[in-house]
């Protein structure tokens, strides 16, 4: 039976050649995957069905399935309103998150096209503002779905007719929330009802669970966000962008003019601060490394997409004082990685499929799909950066050639201010002296003691190229950013506000 088949000449490049990677020492290899000829390859979502077929949705509103064996794409649905996430349940069924709703698509007559477009949930507001994207779904361990909703932008107005309740007091602000649950993450219950989960988000274009069933949401630098953030999201908490508070039952007023101290006390801090322009400009989806060393020695960590840079970001969560925090570092920068890495999914063969996007209005990015495979060669990296009582412990992926000296590490700390204005300069910038360095017996773990450790700062650590592995390799991504919300004993604190 012929389905709606578009023959794409992409049989080449689908399988990875048995390369000389091991010899050349390359750890990761990228190869392109052709996208369907009849759509612009701006990827909104990727998901593998149990059969091994890849479902992809595109900004254009089209949904396709790829048979990776043949490289043939078959169209499944069309006409959706900017879908930015997909979850394939089978070759005949998928859930998409499009601007107006969470929708279940199903092909019931077996012709390859979805016939059923069932609205699972649309219990949130739309003002017609272009910036009100809907993201997700992230799937929790219990099977429940989570979505996140973008606030509106004062770069454009709203429609005369809205969907949902309009709150005038939610209208002011650079990014605003005048209809329900803009700037929230929400849980989609089995009966289709939406459960407001957490507030305080600006542009949460990245939502996902890690292997420990912790929910992570990324957010973009802007008003109330001095840098780009990755949050560990827990129910009922507020994450800092003030517009959404208008929909919190215990607030229900504009908090725009509340004292900063009050808001700062109320907010949950980001688990990872990604300094703007340096590590990230616009983070996207978080995805956990698989269990076991299937994609390098980074199990227990997260990969995060990045719109403006030719790289991904690797984040190393640890629990300190009962909360998640840790270090973040660039991953596979350069090497042909396209900009606009937007959605990621693990393929059946353990490789990472990366969908890229950009948007008009001059938003930076890329397009198409790339496939990334680990060659089995461990890269020379700082595998983990962990907080100790008096400094940091660095696990390297390879044994070092010799014990580094304190001069081999440059540490600087600073913070971004929490305020209503767009972005933030760096404040409290100061070098921090490394007092001692010791190396473990297996030469893989270095312990650094520091002159001072202050909560509320980001610690930027750069490993010098004098630090080499026993086989002569320098650290590929030597600059790490540790978000020190709490000391090991649980002490938290915030730098004094300069305002």
């Amino acid at each position: 039976m012929i389905r709606n088949i578009y023959l794409i000449g992409c049989l080449l490049g689908m399988g990875f050649p048995v390369s000389a990677a091991a010899e050349s020492g390359v750890s990761y290899e990228l190869s392109p995957v052709e996208t369907p000829a009849r759509v612009n390859g701006k990827v909104g979502g990727l998901s593998f069905a149990p059969s091994g077929r890849l479902a992809a949705c595109f900004h254009s509103g089209d949904v396709f399935f790829l048979n990776p064996e043949t490289g043939v794409w078959a169209q499944f649905a069309e006409g959706l309103h900017e879908p930015l996430g997909i979850l394939a349940l089978s070759d005949e069924e998928a859930i998409v998150v499009q601007r107006p709703e969470v929708t279940r698509l199903e092909d019931v007559d077996g012709d390859g096209w979805a016939d059923i477009y069932e609205t699972l949930s649309d219990d949130y507001g739309m003002s017609g503002n272009y910036h009100e994207f809907a993201f997700g779904p992230a799937v929790g361990a219990d099977g429940s779905l989570f979505i996140s909703l973008n606030t509106a932008s004062n770069g454009a107005g709203i429609f005369d007719e809205l969907r949902g309740e309009f709150l005038k007091m939610g209208r002011p602000g650079r990014m605003y929330s005048c209809v329900p649950y803009r700037g929230w993450t929400l849980r989609v219950n089995a009966d289709g009802s939406l459960e407001p989960w957490a507030s305080g988000f600006r542009s949460p274009n990245g939502i996902g669970f890690d292997l420990e069933n912790r929910l992570f949401v990324t957010d973009n630098q802007g008003d109330w966000l001095g840098a780009n953030h990755v949050y560990h999201v827990e129910k009922g908490e507020f994450y800092g962008h003030v517009a959404s508070l208008v929909w919190r039952p215990d607030v229900h007023e504009s908090a725009l003019n509340w004292p900063l101290e009050r808001l700062d006390k109320m907010r949950r801090r980001p688990a990872f601060v990604l300094p703007h322009g340096e590590l990230s400009n616009s983070p996207t989806q978080p995805i956990p490394f698989p269990a076991g060393a299937k994609f390098g020695p980074f199990s227990g960590q997260l990969l995060i997409g990045e719109m403006n840079h030719e790289k991904l970001i690797r984040a190393m969560p640890e629990v300190v004082g009962g909360r998640v925090q840790g270090a973040a570092v660039a991953f596979h920068e350069g090497h042909g990685m396209r900009k606009g890495s937007h959605r990621m999914v693990w393929g059946p063969e353990g490789d990472l499929w990366i969908g890229h996007t950009y948007r008009d209005r001059g938003w930076v990015g890329g397009q198409g799909i790339q496939r990334m495979r680990w060659t089995g060669v461990a890269p020379m990296e700082v595998q983990w950066m962990r907080l100790t009582a008096d400094g940091f412990e660095l696990d390297f992926t390879k044994a070092l050639s010799a014990r580094p000296s304190s001069h081999n590490f440059a540490i600087e700390r600073f913070y971004f201010e929490y305020h209503t204005a767009y972005g933030s300069d760096r404040f409290g910038v100061s070098p921090v002296a490394v007092e001692t360095v010791s190396l473990s017996e297996d030469r893989k773990t270095a312990r650094l003691t520091l002159d001072e450790l202050k909560p509320g700062y980001v610690y930027k650590l750069t490993v010098s190229s004098d630090v080499v592995s026993a086989d002569g390799k320098v650290v590929e991504h030597p600059t790490l950013y540790y978000t020190l919300n709490a000391l090991l004993d649980g002490t938290t604190g915030a730098p004094q506000f300069s305002q």
Binding site: M1, A37, Q98, E101, W113
Partner: protein, 372 residues
């Protein structure tokens, strides 16, 4: 200017004129065919299509063509002269009541060969001589309503065929878009219905634009759960490249609904109905919207009527209350009618039995005048 004519069409209570034929033709079993013939099998498949988008024969050869009907509807195959597909479809449609008996084969000069109408799970075979003149000879199902989508191309040639994905002779929905079209924001109406959820002018933000075959388009609002307006001409230009505002209509609005909500229950309907959007189901690419009005499920399917100059709204209420009222109020030079009953003061009052399925037709007045 508001000029709304309410007019009765058809006798009240007459069931909707649907195509519900049970065709059990015995296929042409007795036809002998040559063993040396070129054998071609076409299977009619769900979704108004043949399993083969095209096939090739050489000039003058004997072709033995079998039609297997694997669909739930009746179909035929009519092979026509180059460029005559639409003409033959129209001729078959014009056969009216006579069509069934004559298998919707208009038997005009444009027809080269035709099977009988084949019921589901039945098979028919015909044998004919391929034309001597090389060319692309369309094959099409002339069963009313099918031909716009259900067709393919018989190539009479000795040469290799052009690439399938850019073949203009196969149905549009199976063609790849050209590279230029990828960056275009203009959506062109095709020969099938097309749904596009997009920001639309004069509607709530959860709008759905639908292009119907024949150049009539409408906007349906998934927030308010109701039809908003219809326009004729081109479909839409989506303006992401401009200001992320609503799409631009590439035609003229001929009717705009302005009733708060058309469907209500009871003699004394309440002003503010509570509505809930449930989604839609595609029926031949046409969305049948599903929603609840004050807890009662309603389904709404909108089709092209009056040769593309009007709309037919088909409502299904699986479990209707005792009294269902359908109100029409809008702006446009149109006539509104229903085969289900008579509008009184803009309202169609129905008991539960009639409300189970009813339809309303909105036609552009100017066209009617042109016909009279």
């Amino acid at each position: 200017m508001i000029q709304l004519h309410l007019r009765k069409r058809g006798a009240p209570g007459r069931p909707r004129a649907g195509i519900a034929l049970t065709l059990t033709f015995v296929a042409a079993l007795g036809v002998a065919y040559s063993a040396a013939a070129r054998s071609v099998t076409l299977r009619a498949a769900p979704g108004l299509r043949y399993d083969q988008l095209r096939f090739a024969v050489t000039p003058g050869e004997v072709v033995s063509l079998e039609l297997e009907n694997a669909d739930e509807m009746a179909h035929n195959v009519v092979i026509v002269k180059p460029g005559k597909r639409v003409e033959v479809i129209q001729a078959a449609q014009a056969m009216g009541a006579d069509g069934v008996a004559r298998h919707f084969n208009p038997n005009t000069e444009a027809v080269i060969a035709a099977t009988v109408v084949v019921a589901p799970d039945e098979t028919a075979r015909i044998e004919f001589l391929a034309p001597e003149v090389e060319g692309v000879y369309p094959y099409v199902c002339t069963f009313p309503g099918h031909g716009a989508l259900m067709y393919g191309a018989m190539y009479v040639t000795r040469d290799p065929l052009p690439p399938l994905e850019t073949d203009p002779n196969i149905p549009e929905r199976f063609q790849a878009r050209t590279t230029e079209a990828l960056d275009s924001n203009v959506y062109v109406p095709g020969n099938r219905a097309r749904v596009l959820r997009e920001f639309m002018p004069d509607a709530g933000p959860a709008a759905i634009a639908v292009a119907l075959p024949g150049g009539v388009n409408y906007c349906w609002d998934a927030g308010a759960c109701r039809f908003r307006y219809a326009w004729a001409g081109g479909f839409v230009d989506i303006g992401y490249h401009k200001a992320d505002g609503p799409a631009e209509l590439l035609g003229d609005v001929f009717y705009r609904s302005r009733v708060p909500f058309p469907v209500s229950f009871g003699q004394d309907p309440q002003e503010d109905s509570e509505v809930e959007f449930l989604g839609y189901r595609l029926v031949h690419f046409h969305p049948e919207f599903r929603y609840r009005v004050d807890g009662v499920e309603v389904r709404e399917l909108i089709q092209s009527a009056s040769g593309g100059r009007g709309l037919e709204f088909v409502y299904t209420i699986p479990e209707p209350p005792d009294t269902v009222v359908y109100r029409v109020d809008g702006v446009g030079e149109v006539s509104v009618s229903s085969p289900t009953g008579e509008f009184v003061d803009g309202a169609l009052m129905m008991d539960a039995e009639r409300a189970r399925q009813f339809s309303v037709v909105i036609e552009q007045e100017s066209l009617l005048e042109g016909l009279e």
